[in-house]
Symmetry: C2
Subunit: 430 residues, 2 copies
């Protein structure tokens, strides 16, 4: 890669997600050369991906050009590159557009969907970890209804209108809620010749409650909200396989569905060369010390989902969510400067700012440290926080207009099949 | 196709563009069964496609779900279908989802890019007639700049940063203007390590002036505006071929470019079965009488771009633009009702509402019947008219927010490569 060396130490960041961007911003205007590599030219605000899937928002509202985020930082270079391997010994990175030497390397590659080795399940189910996957899911949902119009087989038609969402975390809960609202507000008008009351939304959770990372009260309320919206919540239910038509469980019970969304697990997105067994923990995360340094490799750091920092409070690492990623990025930014100035580093300390999930119109659950609340006010808090954290004034305005519109009109306008659903495309191109 | 017959006559409309939607709206709540077929589930506001290509707008702002447009009309059915053939004798339509009988058939299939039989040109150049093509062009433009960063070959780098737009109609002019604004406002910030001043935008027109359908004054001013923005306007220049690298002309002069946008011609999108030589005129349009009836076929009508109605005032048919399409759709709607009520039909009379094109920030040209003007006021008129004609309150709001933002910030935020450029994908999937 033809990037000239400056007289400053070179820090290469792989990944422009929450962690990578947070770190890059910290390094701005410092005496370092920062190179950020990502396979997309945009940063994705992942918490709102489900709104892209359900036609509430368009990609540009939740994506932001990486070049633009960092355009005022003269010490910063971005390259659109797919990293293929790290040669630790040579301090060299091999990518699809050439190789690149580093002085310090920061892995901020995030996570990917974990199908736990079940190939058939992976082949037939939908993931929702990227914009392309979300758009693909949007097309599939809409195409299913178009398809349902064409069949006289009642069984098949029901399967086309059934949605099984596996995983009771925020993604699963929010997607289930959004689909339920579509069922109520949009389908009867868009498909007057279908009995859309037969459409079913199933949320399947292996554990004893949904939103298990949140308070018990939040779990209970979220379940109540979902059931109020007509979502069927299946707890203590584990999907064992899915062949594109039938989803089997541990018991005799099966779901007949043309759409299974797998939001039941993630794993670290490891890169060849830094994926040795002794470096990782189960779930493909890299063991890091309290300074986010990858244990055992000098000059290599990991932040965000890919990093597993074991502390007494977090025996299996921090939750794989935006907040720890943002905070680790910022802390590492400070530490890298300290490292270069030969000052003592500051250990990472996670500051839990609370968590939240929305279930639908006027319904959300919020857990703050000392205050937990649910319902309309929580929903306003959820909206405000999400608008606030979106990067860019225009994105906030566009999302705001869309939300106000949807709220007033009980509608979502981006129900467009721009590109037809394509399982392979989604899988291999992203 | 399992659509039940009602006791009313069945009118099938093929195509949900300006003409088809205008007609469908007219038929609402009348004693007819209306079935609209389109290969997309949305209506496209084609005049703003160039803004999708240049990252100013997202697809949902200029696309509108067809089901939603017509949701309150109980006599209306939509099917997402690709029409393959019409069997005139049997009054039958064959599609990818089955066949369908009609009593009256309205062809509103619009137009497609005309490469005038030049296969190599078609293979290597970009068209911009659909949302997928526009998104594909957006990806290509952005990828070219990423690619330009990677090469040390100055020749190749220049070719990657050169854009040749063929066709000096509104599409070509507006795209050239938008690219020039990107060159000025965005590229230097996004690509500080490229000498983006070397990027060139060429607009190539075979005739003696651009915007040849408009007034002479409009042509002159548009050219002046474009040159002020740094666009090189080549008149009396005809591109003879393009191999992906070199665009040749009638003379020795060649353009070295990695991107050639072909906006130099359209032709009617004919359907098998209604494409016989005696039914059409050059440019693949169907000869229609003054009631938009396809000459020689009982019960079959054509409206919009696909229809060629020769009148003393329009010896080669009406311009292939939105206004004639909308007006023909509305007129035919009235006439179909009259036909069923055995009343005399009203011949179509085109009411020219004027035409306009924008060149860039504060710059547009407007021709009204008795009043022609250019500059800032024209630009405001252009924006107002385009906002007004967009379907849907939310679309107008979102476009408005985007435009205000771009105006204030000299920016376009949707510069996202969501899916990589893929010539074949664009061509064969749409």
């Amino acid at each position: 890669m033809n990037i000239s060396r400056t007289s400053y130490p070179r820090i290469v960041i792989i990944g422009g997600g929450f962690a990578g961007v947070s770190l890059a911003k910290k390094m701005s205007k410092k005496e370092v050369q920062v190179i950020l590599l990502d396979k997309h030219n945009y940063h994705t605000f992942q918490p709102l991906l489900y709104q892209v899937s359900t036609g509430g928002l368009e990609p540009d509202s939740i994506a932001y050009p990486i070049r633009k985020i960092l355009k005022n930082y003269p010490n910063f270079t971005f390259r659109l590159a797919d990293v293929q391997e790290i040669e630790i010994g040579k301090k060299n990175i091999i990518t699809n557009i050439g190789s690149l030497k580093y002085d310090y390397l920061v892995l901020a590659t995030g996570s990917e969907t974990n199908f736990f080795g079940n190939v058939e399940l992976e082949k037939h189910s939908m993931a929702m970890k990227s914009i392309i996957e979300s758009l693909n899911l949007r097309s599939l949902i809409l195409e299913n209804f178009e398809q349902a119009l064409l069949t006289d087989d009642l069984h098949e038609r029901d399967a086309l209108m059934n949605f099984v969402i596996v995983g009771g975390g925020p993604t699963g809960v929010e997607l289930a809620g959004a689909l339920a609202e579509i069922k109520k507000g949009i389908l009867p008008k868009d498909y007057p010749d279908l009995d859309t009351r037969r459409a079913q939304i199933h949320l399947v959770q292996s554990g004893s409650r949904i939103l298990k990372e949140m308070s018990k009260k939040a779990s209970e309320k979220a379940e109540e909200f979902l059931e109020g919206l007509g979502v069927q919540v299946w707890k203590e239910t584990r999907i064992t396989n899915y062949d594109g038509k039938l989803a089997t469980t541990m018991t005799d019970f099966v779901f007949e569905t043309a759409t299974l969304v797998w939001a039941a697990g993630v794993k670290g997105a490891l890169i060849k060369g830094v994926d040795a067994k002794e470096l990782t923990v189960p779930g493909n995360r890299l063991k890091v010390n309290q300074f986010n340094q990858v244990e055992g490799i000098e000059g290599v750091f990991a932040i965000g989902d890919i990093a597993c920092m074991v502390t007494p409070e977090f025996p299996i690492g921090h939750p794989m969510m935006a907040q720890p990623a943002i905070q680790q990025g910022a802390n590492l930014g400070d530490n890298l400067i300290k490292l270069l100035e030969r000052q003592p580093l500051t250990p990472f300390k996670y500051k839990d700012k609370g968590s939240m999930a929305t279930v639908g119109r006027n319904k959300a659950v919020v857990d703050l440290k000392n205050y937990k609340f649910q319902g309309v006010f929580a929903w306003f808090v959820w909206m405000f926080v999400h608008l606030f954290f979106l990067i860019g004034f225009r994105n906030r305005m566009v999302v705001f207009v869309n939300w106000v519109y949807s709220y007033i009109r009980f509608d979502r306008e981006a129900r467009l099949i721009i590109r037809p659903y394509n399982k392979d495309y989604s899988k291999f191109k992203d």
